[in-house]
């Protein structure tokens, strides 16, 4: 079973690293990088689901009978775009936060809020 599933497990490890960073990191930008890793690994997970042994890219071609599953690819195309859109928004937020607070560290943010 392990050889069959190792691929997923690798992905999961990667995913969890990202997740961990998101939770633990105090620096807002690093949080986002963590989030990005988290999401990307989910994409990989999907693509792995779509992989077919000995299949080739799902573009019609002569002499190819087995194609990989196009559906996950489509979903992930969408998901990637969603991800990058989220990132853009998040970074814009960070920029504004930096401007308003003068820092992008969670601790400092909180204490500065307490002060005012």
């Amino acid at each position: 079973m392990l050889p069959e599933l190792y691929n997923y497990w690798v992905v999961i490890v990667l995913m969890m690293i990202g997740f961990y960073i998101v939770i633990v990191q105090g620096n807002l930008i690093k949080k986002l990088i963590g989030l990005n890793i988290f999401q990307t690994s989910v994409f990989i997970f999907y693509i792995s689901v779509g992989k077919v042994e000995g299949g080739s890219a799902p573009i019609l071609a002569e002499g190819v009978s087995v194609y990989s599953n196009p559906l996950p690819h489509v979903l992930i195309l969408t998901a990637i775009v969603v991800g990058i859109a989220t990132m853009a928004l998040a970074l814009a937020l960070v920029v504004r936060i930096k401007n308003a607070y003068g820092t992008v560290e969670e601790e400092e943010l909180q204490e500065r809020d307490l002060r005012c």
Binding site: F19, L35, Q39, V42, V49, A79, V82, L89
Partner: protein, 490 residues
């Protein structure tokens, strides 16, 4: 054209948004947005009627039948929620023009309306679609719009709140995405109906269980179910008042809808019970949520925050309703969806009026408000009574059904707990009333809020009373929806 209503419901606001950007003048954008949202109300009304007439409406996009194409599927439940969301959305946009005048600089206002419409469209899309991945896409549309909207609050903490919400929300969405991935790898389909047909065979599989778990956690993050509620109070407290009002009245409702949809329609009632004691978990979390949140609410100096916590508590009630696990319980939840939208809508809009006058919703501004803004305060009182559950208001109806459901189960402790919960509500409402009516206001006197803000608020407040007396519509819809959900698939 009538046959296209399901999709029109979503694309009218969806396409109105970019058109709104083209206008690029606040007033024009506002009028346009009003038009679009009122059209969508009409559509949702027609949809309710159609569903009532012909039963479930299925609309296959691009002409590809499910499961190959994306299907829009309107049953009683979705029609009901669509009605709530679009109705509230329209009322809020009415008030928006005045409400944001003081809160958002003029050159940003057109963009504000664009985002508002996008958010509305996203929420409607989540409810209307019958395709589980499509849910994810529209969830993100509404979420992104929401983050941006929240960040528009004047207090810089709004930015921080928006960021937190963004992180939590994205994690939630990703969890849902993972859940979908598992489901797909297990069944090879994304259509809810199709899933519902294929899942029972795989009930025992660990993958199905994991998918279920991830979907539930993801939704509960969005739903701000205790203890995952931490993002909500800040977001509601610092967002522009109108945004708060809109979100409080719609976003959480849609999240509850998703919960119910996944739980009952996709996986089926039996599933959860077979793999884990979900209902008892819901009961416990709901109860704890009600009490903790209410207790915290009592100590809040900022009234917006106070009602934000009370929202968390109310969500607790809805979850309890699901946790009871009977038709009546579910009906109580559905009723509370409707009723809570009305009361919180009225309350937060009233707060918007107060913010409009005082610049913040701090409780010290409430001193002497009974004389200064009699109408606004009267509305707050009505909303408060409704929140407590006094007969003659909608709050009573939902409480009534909740207690009824508990009674059918002979869970006296639960009944007592629910009633105690309402007593906590009495306490924090009383705090407001006391300050507003029994304390002299200091500072220069300020007048009543402008009519453009007051009228929508009043409409909502009256709705609180009207639907507390004439309960036929919500009771009928929620009843048939609950019946259908327990009868099986969507």
């Amino acid at each position: 054209m009538l046959s296209h209503l399901p999709i029109l419901q979503v694309i009218v606001p969806l396409l109105a948004a970019p058109a709104c950007l083209l206008l690029d003048r606040a007033r024009a954008a506002w009028l346009f947005a009003c038009m679009a949202s009122f059209i969508s109300v009409v559509i949702s009304g027609l949809l309710v009627f159609q569903v009532h007439q012909f039963g479930v409406l299925s609309y296959s996009l691009g002409g590809w039948d499910a499961p190959w194409g994306i299907e829009y599927r309107i049953d009683v439940l979705s029609a009901y929620v669509l009605l709530i969301v679009s109705g509230i959305g329209a009322l809020m946009i009415l008030a928006a023009d005045t409400a944001i005048r003081t809160e958002i600089p003029s050159e940003r206002q057109p963009l504000f309306y664009v985002l508002y419409l996008l958010c509305l469209a996203g929420l409607l899309g989540i409810v209307a679609t019958g395709d589980i991945f499509n849910v994810f896409v529209f969830l993100e549309i509404s979420s992104l719009a929401t983050y941006a909207l929240i960040a528009q609050g004047r207090d810089r903490r709004a930015l921080w709140a928006a960021y937190q919400y963004l992180i939590v929300g994205t994690i939630g969405a990703t969890f849902i995405l993972i859940g979908i991935g598992f489901l797909y790898s297990l069944t090879g389909t994304l259509n809810m109906q199709d899933l519902a047909n294929r899942l029972p065979a795989l009930e025992s599989s660990a993958t199905a269980f994991t998918a279920f778990a991830f979907l539930m956690v993801g939704v509960c993050l969005k739903l701000a179910l205790f203890p995952l509620h931490l993002w909500l109070p800040n977001a509601y407290a610092y967002a522009p008042s109108i945004v708060t009002a809109f979100l409080a009245a719609t976003a959480t409702k849609v999240a509850v809808y998703l919960l119910i949809r996944f739980h009952f329609s996709v996986f089926g009632v039996g599933f959860a019970a077979s793999v884990l004691p979900l209902h008892s978990i819901f009961l416990v979390l709901g109860l704890v949520g009600v009490f903790v949140a209410s207790l915290v609410a009592i100590q809040q100096p900022n009234v917006k925050r106070l009602f934000a916590y009370s929202s968390v508590a109310q969500i607790g009630y809805m979850i309890i309703g699901i946790g009871i696990g009977t038709v009546t319980g579910l009906q109580a939840t559905l009723l509370h969806l409707f009723n809570h939208a009305l009361m919180k809508g009225a309350l937060f809009l009233a707060l918007a009026a107060i913010v409009f006058r005082f610049g913040s919703a701090d409780i010290r501004h409430f001193a002497g408000l009974g004389q200064r803004m009699p109408w606004t305060m009267a509305i707050i009182v009505i909303g408060g009574l409704s929140l407590i559950g006094v007969p003659g208001t909608v709050g009573f109806i939902s409480k009534w059904y909740l207690v009824l459901a508990a009674f059918e189960r002979d869970w006296w402790l639960l009944i007592i707990a629910v009633l105690l919960g309402s007593l906590l509500a009495v306490i924090y409402i009383w705090r407001l009333i006391e300050v507003a009516y029994f304390r002299e206001g200091e500072g220069e006197p300020r007048g009543e809020a402008p009519l453009s803000l007051l009228i929508p608020t009043a409409i909502l407040a009256l709705a609180n009373i009207y639907f507390g007396i004439d309960t036929r519509l919500p009771v009928y819809l929620s009843d048939s929806a609950a019946q259908m959900l327990f009868g099986g698939g969507p």
